[in-house]
């Protein structure tokens, strides 16, 4: 583990991971049109349908209109899904199908450079989607005030966290089908009990406690207040949890990819 840590630190310091990030960004740019449409279109539909449709039944939630509650949650859940899918399906394609990583590893880049570059890239896509959702939510009147801009670095961190976790899954995956386990057993439950669509306080005690162990819950606790225009509590704790859920998977992913690629 110490070796992995050294490799990761060396990668951070060397900045070579940026070449991996840049490669992915350039590919994204080619298809930016549909990608951006998706970034805006999907949250717009969700917010309209669920926010107004479901909202008219639900009424207020935790003292705010449902669409406000929902918009602030979707910023977080979309950071999670965007980074996770990038870290699974897209990264797997680059690793196994296109053998892009193999070609990168014949240059002066290390596995840590590749893994970290991919993780930051996944996080970047989370930020793209976060920006789009915030804009849509602003237009729909679901954003509190200008402090909402502060969520972007938090969305980046959330994206980094989930990208790193999914890269661990990718590192041990033998096919695309394998990702269904992770999606079904980890992503979807988190989406449902992480406080995105409804608050946790009326859930059974056991679920509330379990939810406190999940990174998404802490991302919601940080991001929702800023979107609706209040101040988050226990900031250090939430950051610590997200930080741990980023660093440990990152190191694990470097280690597993090293092993997989033959190191």
């Amino acid at each position: 583990m110490a070796v992995t840590w050294v490799q990761l630190l060396d990668s951070l310091r060397g900045g070579r991971w940026r070449a991996v990030w840049w490669r992915n960004f350039r590919v994204w740019q080619r298809l930016a049109g549909p990608a951006i449409l998706g970034n805006f279109g999907e949250p717009l539909l969700y917010l309209l349908a669920l926010g107004y449709g479901l909202g008219s039944f639900v009424g207020d939630m935790q003292g705010m209109r449902y669409i406000v509650f929902l918009a602030s949650g979707i910023v977080v859940s979309s950071a999670m899904t965007t980074a996770s899918f990038e870290g699974m399906y897209s990264a797997y394609t680059r690793m196994e199908v296109q053998r892009t990583w193999e070609s990168i590893l014949t240059t002066p880049l290390s596995v840590a450079d590749v893994v970290f570059g991919e993780a930051v890239w996944g996080a970047t896509k989370s930020v793209f989607s976060g920006v789009a959702i915030l804009l849509v939510a602003t237009v729909l009147g679901a954003v509190g005030d200008a402090r909402a801009i502060l969520v972007l670095p938090l969305v980046l961190l959330t994206g980094l966290c989930f990208a790193s976790m999914s890269l661990v899954v990718t590192a041990v995956s033998r096919s695309y089908d394998f990702f269904l386990y992770y999606t079904t057993l980890v992503i979807t439950p988190m989406l449902l009990i992480g406080g995105v669509f409804f608050p946790l306080d009326r859930m059974p005690q056991a679920i509330q406690i379990a939810a406190q162990g999940l990174p998404l819950t802490h991302a919601v606790a940080l991001i929702r207040p800023l979107v609706i225009g209040t101040i988050p509590h226990h900031v250090a704790l939430h950051l610590l949890v997200l930080g741990l859920y980023t660093l440990v998977p990152l190191m694990l992913a470097v280690r597993l990819v090293n092993r997989r690629m033959g190191g």
């Binding site: 490669r23 350039r26 193999e102 070609s103 014949t106 880049l109 290390s110 690629m261």
Partner: protein, 309 residues
Amino acid sequence: MSDDQVQVIDARLLSKHYGRYTAVDAVDVKIRRGEFWGLLGPNGAGKTTFLRMITGAIAPSSGSLRVLEYPVPAQARPMRRRIGVVPQLDNLDPDFSVIENLRTYAGYFGLSGPDLDTHIEGLLEFAALESKRDARISALSGGMQRRLSLVRALVNQPDLLILDEPTTGLDPQARQLMWQRLRELKSKGITVVLTTHYMEEAQRLCDRITIMDHGRLLDSASPSELIKRHIEPHVVEVYGDDAEAWHLGVGAGLADRSEQVGETWLYYALDEEPLVDALKASHGISYLHRPANLEDVFVKLTGRELREA
């Protein structure tokens, strides 16, 4: 130590095990600067595994390895700044055009700017791909993809070039062009390591050839020296319906060594005259008289049975 005695590759007792299987078995190799070295061996001999240890892609199980004076794999990352690699299977980036492939790959070396652009123009010309600069990889022929892989390995102006079967699957014209380019690189003093299954290619290009099988190095010398060392200078091939009868009646006694391969009898001789005279005298027997070549050596050292790899 004079300049050309510097070892570009210095492998000592290098081994790679996969579980109980030994892919590379205690290999000793020294490659001098400027040398064009060919590594030949049947499928599964361990060539690719050996090359991947050199580039630091996989870690040796035991032994020591220095490449361009860097200890590998410990210092493989900085070492790779100075080598170019053409892998056995192309891994060009399908999301990019030809020129973007070169630029992106150069980016991994931290290269950019006008100097790089000039260099890349030169590489496109070298690969005869100027007209394809904006084409997607999927729109290139196999030969074009292989040449792009070659020039991609040259973006960082490497001192050592590692080519794993660069011409496999190419038509004769594409292969000729590749050979020409490789000779040009050699004349510029780049050290080249090449694997191939084409004996003619190895014979034409390589200063030194090593034959490998079952993870071990069998012999190593210049192509002509290898042939001299292992095979009588003359080979006569006799084939056709009457070959067997002729062999039993006449041929067997006239050569230093003979063997049957399928329908053909091969005769190896220091002096070919008695054989050829006898064949001329026996009308209707089909035969071919040729000098010994590298393939004869290869087959003698590695055997004739088919590999399953």
